[in-house]
Symmetry: C2
Subunit: 161 residues, 2 copies
């Protein structure tokens, strides 16, 4: 009888999860870019936050989460200041590059460990990462409604390249 | 030198992916239920589809996708008829139970195989499943905007139980 059980087979591997996330990030970047600069932090529907604020939330969750999961250091200091679209996109691209660099430092078994992120959110590492991705999809979907309400066609949901 | 490489370690296991999806399904069910019956198929923002139509799209994607991945049979016949909320929720619950039953029939290596879903969408099984989940999150986020525009508080995004 084996004394060590085989690891559970992957539904999603680490490489696939990164590729999946970066595909979503490309689509979210196009969604940010679809907003007129003067609407990014001023327009919303139903009293909700404008899309620029949602994009800043994504920025302050994604890279800081991954940095924390890799280093154990949780940085809550990232700016949420209102900025021109070009600056938001510049920060987005910087985050994308950092996410790629950090991802390669995640030890293979790390995804199945339990961690308390930002000193507050205790869950499996895979669930913490999925939460960040889901939160991006959720808010981007709201951005699609804002764009339609502005008479602007959002980028195709299925295009991730 | 080993001649067979070890399988890639899981970022997300099959059990975790099902749990993740069913958590989202519980939240989407609460979102459907938050709509007044007379608004589900009539109200929208920016000329988009009402939330009832988006829920029907989710219904016709989720269980039929999983059924196809397990059996190789692709069923495109599921009804998209406008129905009272109670009927949509009844179909949702039936889908939830079928998804649990079908999931246990997925062979462990299946997630990494390439399949052409519905005779049209060729991708890795894990990506096809993630697409169905992401599409649900995306449209549910739009439903949140509709609810806010109706003056109704959506269910908390982070609650999945």
């Amino acid at each position: 009888m084996p004394t060590v059980s085989a690891p559970a087979p992957a539904a999603v591997t680490a490489d696939q999860l990164l590729k999946h996330w970066q595909g979503h990030r490309r689509l979210t970047r196009r969604t940010i870019d679809a907003f007129p600069d003067d609407k990014l932090f001023t327009f919303s529907v139903g009293g909700m936050r404008p899309f620029g604020e949602l994009a800043l939330e994504m920025l302050t969750m994604a890279e800081p989460m991954l940095h924390g999961l890799v280093t154990g250091e949780w940085d809550l200091s990232m700016s949420r200041d209102v900025s021109p679209k070009a600056e938001i996109l510049r920060r987005w691209d910087k985050g994308t590059a950092h996410i790629n660099a950090l991802w390669s430092q995640i030890p293979p078994g790390r995804f199945q460990e339990t961690v308390t992120a930002f000193g507050r959110y205790k869950d499996l590492v895979c669930n913490l990462l999925l939460y960040v991705i889901d939160n991006e999809i959720h808010h981007r979907g709201q951005g699609y409604v804002y764009l339609r309400a502005l008479g602007i066609e959002p980028p195709p949901f299925y295009e991730r390249d």
